[in-house]
Symmetry: C2
Subunit: 336 residues, 2 copies
DNA sequence: CTGAAAGCGCTAACAC
DNA sequence: GTGTTAGCGCTTTCAG
């Protein structure tokens, strides 16, 4: 591995000059520049980013912290981050926390350790708030994406309340009164906010919500399948005729549960999901769902992060809420 | 940001001692150790990984290069890598190349720049081979996962030939003779190998393969949908009665095309995919598919990489081929 | 216009 | 048992 010294020697200039041509950071005479460039080619030299990072404290990488890489929600968000970051010369690195409590601190240490310059966090459980606040206080650039935080921090998210509200309302308009809402992971403000929207719609319609109608499906297939089974075994007068799941994948679990019970969707059970993942639109699925503007969330969050990295004194806290859209398909029995 | 010097001063020891307690790398008397630890707590000190990396040339991070983060194939592989790496104290960082030609070099520069110690590459197009060989020659630890390379390099992959062969053979046993095979991205040895397996099965059965039966569906939904449409518009005597797609997502595109043509799957068109993604098993999908051992591929690849990183003189090239499994479901008309 | 050299924070060889 | 210090590869100030 050649170093800057090797290049300097071979080109017969100082290391300073080499550095200047590499970074284009001050005038260098054409002849010297040429010699340096040739030496770099010949020795196949690549500057050591670690050494540079130590010196200038800029790694040009931002880290995207995601909760569950297996959740198809995130790839689009990640792609948007990458594209946006690339335009500004930044590289995005993805880190997966599995939504385990206590894994965020580990991800966060990347910042303190100096290997990354900024963080886009998509996974702030309420329990993580103290860590984030600490970091913020220390002046690190962080933005939350797709999380509604109970703190003063830059955030880009969707209108989750409205999502829960519209989903429930749509079902109400279709004539449902017994509507279940399968919740997600605990301590997630996103879950809380969507639930609030649902409750508001029910309240406005004058419908009472039974305790049993709010099981925890964790937005995953298995758990939602099981919980839906339980829901469908409720006595007739308590059994919901419609169900909202906090995620599309979970909604599919519920649909399969209904199917295994010999019930028809949407006739016996109407189902609505959240996210509008790719598979929601398959001919054989046609899931009604609340679309999240995933790409835009990633993009806006990245833009804001880069802004903050460039201008460290910018201490404003922007909170952006993007509109959601109810995509009406077949699983709720809606017909044009 | 406190540095090791601040800790040393506060604990009234040398920086060496601080380093020794942090890394547990030689005996330190209990009192001093205690003082150091207290100072670390009090100042909320985190060692700078960049500086350490510069010194010891080990970042303890390995990078996973994937072709397309939106392809649900990769998350499982990535999870396996993470789990395996974590056990050994390594962190995994994911980088997405979008299977663009020329994006691998960029990913690779991470190695040369010293920010990562080793690479798991899931995306070696044939056109990337020269880069990999160069790197290998320079002694960097790299292993290929889920790629069959035409070069001498550590590799963990599935038996793609067998996959193509079994898929075709299954259809042949079910009575099909006109079987199409929708291919993936160009220059992918994986695609080539699976195609070979399919051709072999057809040959053994004595069936001729029409040129038109080998369209490029790129394993994606849209393209596969279009190409399948075209296939279904072929004159009756040329129209395939069965189709294999190089990926499950592509298979879904084909199924939806059939559906839009008013054809029934599997009666008018039998369909087999590759991968056995989560959605292949949905009640409303039930896609027959060739399961890839994704988790195991990630695990074995990571193990091998770490082995090589620990023992830089190990120049053996292991090539592991894991068995695939044909998962028989409903889209090919198979019945117990 | 260019070069010498200090120093980023850390580790580890060497000295005591 | 512990401390001193050189040096990892780079950038950038300061001097010329």
């Amino acid at each position: 591995m050649p170093t800057i010294k090797d290049i300097a020697k071979r080109a017969n200039v100082s290391t300073a000059t080499v550095s200047y041509v590499i970074n284009n950071t001050r005038y260098v005479s054409p002849e010297k520049r040429e010699r340096v460039e040739r030496a770099i080619k010949e020795l196949n030299y690549v500057p050591n980013a670690v050494a540079r990072g130590l010196r200038v404290r800029r790694s040009k990488v931002i880290s995207l912290i995601i909760a569950d890489i297996a959740n198809p929600f995130y790839p689009d968000l990640a792609k948007a981050c990458e594209e946006t970051a690339k335009k500004e010369g930044y590289t995005v690195t993805i880190m997966n926390t599995n939504d385990e409590q206590g894994s965020l601190p580990k991800a966060i240490s990347q910042l303190r350790e100096g290997t990354v310059e900024g963080l886009i966090v998509t996974t702030a459980l309420n329990t993580d708030v103290p860590f984030l606040e600490q970091l913020l206080q220390e002046g690190y650039p962080i933005v939350l994406a797709h999380r509604c935080p109970e703190m003063d921090i830059d955030t880009v998210m969707a209108d989750n309340f409205q999502g829960g509200f519209e989903a429930a309302n749509h079902l109400i308009e279709l004539g449902h009164a017994k509507i279940a809402f399968m919740r997600g992971v605990q301590h997630s403000p996103i879950d809380a906010t969507r639930t609030l929207g649902y409750k508001k719609a029910m309240e406005l319609a004058g419908f009472h919500i039974l305790e049993e109608w709010l099981p925890t499906g964790l937005a995953n297939y298995e758990k939602s399948y099981q919980e839906c089974m339980r829901l469908l075994e409720l006595p007739k007068d308590k059994r919901p005729t419609a169900l909202i799941n906090i995620g599309d994948i979970g909604a599919l679990g519920a649909i399969d549960a209904a199917s295994d019970k010999g019930l028809s969707v949407p006739d016996d059970l109407a189902v609505i999901g959240f996210d509008d993942l790719f598979l929601a639109n398959l001919r054989s699925v046609q899931l009604t769902t609340v679309r999240m503007p995933r790409f835009e969330i990633g993009q806006r969050a990245t833009e804001r992060l880069i802004e903050k990295m460039k201008n460290r004194t910018d201490s404003r806290k922007l909170q952006v809420t993007l509109p959601v859209e109810l995509i009406k398909r077949k699983t709720c029995g809606w017909k044009k």
